[in-house]
């Protein structure tokens, strides 16, 4: 996740069957951008994929034997990324298309858990394609549709031509309720500039954390239900890394199953570089990224997306990480 990274960027495409994933994928691949992508697909969908380097795989999820019940990873991706790296220099990025019903967690966790994969590749963004007309019904009948939105850095709200402006507004509100930090693009036939999807550096987090629409509302409700929501907090005084590690470690251990994604940019005490933190369920990763810009306020921010988020408890916890 360092800004000078030589790791290959990986884009994960999720979304229900029929939402327009393959249409978006083919748009990415055929648009004249002078870049080559390795594409990992799991089955031939409704449409073929037109690319030089397509890898057909079976989604093989397994549970790590590390005492963490939600730590599942994709063993097939570990092998394929390892294999692709032997051809290094022949492609500029990797795009992974998941099956319609896939939970994005194992894909994301693969990029945090496996040392070999981490060394060579970095997760650039999770892009979720949703169908404006059918999303409300999907959200009612499945957890997966909700999870796919919760995990997204970028949401392509597709088939906007099939709904009225009011319906479109309503479906976007539904998405925002689950994940208010993702960038949403309204599209017809998945048409959008591909630089809105690829090489987003979404895990660099700057953009995501800079655009919280509700940072200062100060509401202290305690959401206790099975719906996914998102919360963010900020503190202006520097963070003590030891306190933060102790707090976040305990929190992820206790609540990791409910916390789908956690992301943060932290201003550590006596440190000129920004520390970027992220986690998927219990699996966390962090690294220093570029320095704070002169004149920018050194504010630490953290974002939670998950179920049963206890706003006051999370706020107190984060504020308790401030250096003495």
């Amino acid at each position: 996740m360092a800004e000078t990274s030589t790791q290959v960027p990986v884009t994960v495409l999720t979304g229900y069957l029929g939402a327009g994933k393959t249409t978006l994928l083919n748009r990415i691949l055929t648009e004249q951008h002078g870049r080559k992508y390795a594409v990992i697909i799991n089955e031939f969908g409704e449409l073929g994929v037109d690319n030089d380097l397509v890898v057909d795989t079976d989604e093989e999820v397994f549970e790590m034997n590390n005492g963490c019940i939600c730590c599942t990873v994709r063993g097939d991706l570990i092998r394929i990324v390892g294999g692709l790296m032997k051809r290094r220099g022949k492609f500029d990025g990797i795009i992974i298309e998941t099956t319609g019903l896939a939970n994005p967690a194992p894909v994301a966790q693969t990029f945090f858990v496996d040392e070999g994969v981490k060394e060579k590749a970095r997760l650039d963004a999770i892009v979720t394609v949703v169908d404006a007309k059918h999303l409300p019904a999907r959200l009612k009948d499945s957890h997966e549709a909700e999870d796919q939105i919760a995990f997204a850095d970028v949401i392509v709200l597709n088939k906007t031509d099939l709904v009225t402006p009011d319906e479109l507004e309503a479906v976007e509100q539904q998405i925002r309720k689950i994940n208010k930090f993702a960038v949403i693009h309204r599209t017809e036939r998945a048409s959008l500039p591909i630089d809105q999807v690829l090489n987003r550096g979404a895990f660099d987090l700057n953009r995501v954390l800079a655009r919280d629409p509700e940072f200062l509302t100060g509401e202290d409700d305690h959401e206790h239900n099975e719906d996914i929501t998102s919360l963010s907090f900020e503190v202006e005084r520097p963070i003590d890394p030891e306190k933060f590690n102790a707090w976040i470690g305990g929190l992820l251990q206790d609540k990791g199953q409910d916390l789908l994604r956690t992301k943060g940019i932290l201003a550590y005490e006596n440190e000129d570089r920004r520390f970027a933190f992220q986690a998927v369920h219990m699996i966390a990763d962090g690294d220093f990224i570029g320095p704070w810009k002169d004149g920018d306020p050194r504010v630490s921010r953290i974002v939670f997306i998950g179920r049963n988020l206890n706003r006051p408890q999370l706020r107190r916890g984060f504020e308790g990480c401030v250096a003495d």
Partner: protein, 348 residues
């Protein structure tokens, strides 16, 4: 073992190095020992006769990366699998021909076993399926596993084939009338496999930086842990007394005698500088083990005395391929930067 103590690295005096320009995925010697073949990430195979080390030739074998390589069952050829879905044979003269094609699926593992009278067996894994061929390329068996096959090996007699996958490994009898695998179970992702030369045990490498083994006589589990990284390279010594492994900052050798490896500590060779060992290869005749490291260092160690002979300096990138010739007179290695060499260990 050479008694050289003055020359710091054997590569300088006895090596035939070459820059091949792409990731060295695997190196193997032919069964007659007269060719070394380096398989690269650009799909080419580079052949050299160690007796004529100035002449190398490149053969375009795969349209993509080579993923696996084995000596063919013939005296002088090779078999390779690629991410182009092809299983191909390459003769010592450099002619490539198809044995099978599997569309978009990768041919990830290849293993071979030479029988008598020119007969032999070739096994290749494609996703969850292992295909077994005879020497002419005719299909003998097709074995399906619960998940993708990650490691593949024949036992020393060519009677059984072991395949690692999620939650354990499967052992198949080549000559069985009905195909029922003996399934060796252990929860988790198993990523490589080796079979003890006397057929006493099967060992796998695991995602969680550990090895797992099953004693075949009674199914007893063997757990070998403590590695800082994943172990990707496993090699039994010629008599099966030791299992050498990569994944630590030394070559780690587990004793398979005196009740071991259960309850026994492994020995560590050529360690101490914090650099991870990435490849190991036991000598085919003597109790010696070669090791390659992530900084490019290559050494050979005497197991009994722990004495270490430096072979190549830490200068050419992570060692990704390592193999002895069948007579043990030569060691070949390759690195991720495309550096390759054959080093001569014969008495002069």
């Amino acid at each position: 073992m050479s008694q050289t103590t003055t020359a710091p690295f054997l590569l300088e005096s006895r090596g035939t190095p070459r820059e091949l320009g792409a990731f060295v995925v695997a190196v193997r010697f032919s069964r007659d020992g007269r060719s070394a073949a380096f398989a690269l990430g650009d799909g080419t195979l580079h052949l050299v006769n160690p007796a004529d080390p100035d002449v190398w030739h490149a053969v375009a074998v795969h349209d993509g990366a080579t993923l696996s390589l084995a000596a063919d069952v013939t005296p002088d050829g090779f078999v390779s699998g690629g991410d182009d879905g092809a299983l191909r044979r390459v003769s010592a003269a450099g002619e490539a021909s198809d044995m099978a094609r599997f569309g978009m699926k990768w041919v990830e593992q290849v293993a071979t076993h030479a029988l008598d009278k020119g007969r032999g067996l070739i096994a290749a894994s494609v996703g969850k399926v292992v295909h077994l061929f005879d020497q002419a390329g005719g299909t003998l068996k097709t074995w399906t596993h619960p998940s993708s096959v990650t490691g593949l090996a024949f036992d020393a007699k060519g009677k059984r084939v072991g395949a690692s996958h999620y939650n354990g490994a499967s052992l198949w009898f080549v000559g069985a009338k009905t195909d029922n695998a003996r399934v060796l179970e252990w929860k988790g992702s198993h990523t490589a496999l080796a079979i003890h030369p006397e057929g006493d045990a099967v060992v796998t490498a695991m995602q969680e930086n550990a090895l797992h083994g099953w004693r075949l006589s009674d199914g007893q589990h063997m757990r070998m842990s403590g590695y800082p990284t994943k172990s990707e390279s496993l090699s039994f010594s010629r008599n099966g007394r030791w299992l050498a492994s990569s994944g630590a900052d030394a070559m780690v050798l587990w004793p398979f005698f005196g009740g071991g490896p259960m309850g026994k500590a492994p020995i560590e060779l050529a360690g101490g500088d914090g650099i991870i060992c990435t490849q190991v290869a036991c000598h085919p005749k003597d109790d010696l083990v070669a090791g390659g490291f992530s900084d490019g260092l290559v050494v050979v160690a005497d197991i009994a005395s722990s004495r270490v002979l430096p072979v190549a300096p830490p200068e050419h990138g992570k060692v990704t391929a390592l193999a002895w010739s069948p007579d043990g007179a030569r060691l070949a290695f390759g690195t991720e930067t495309g550096f390759a060499a054959v080093v001569d260990f014969s008495r002069r």
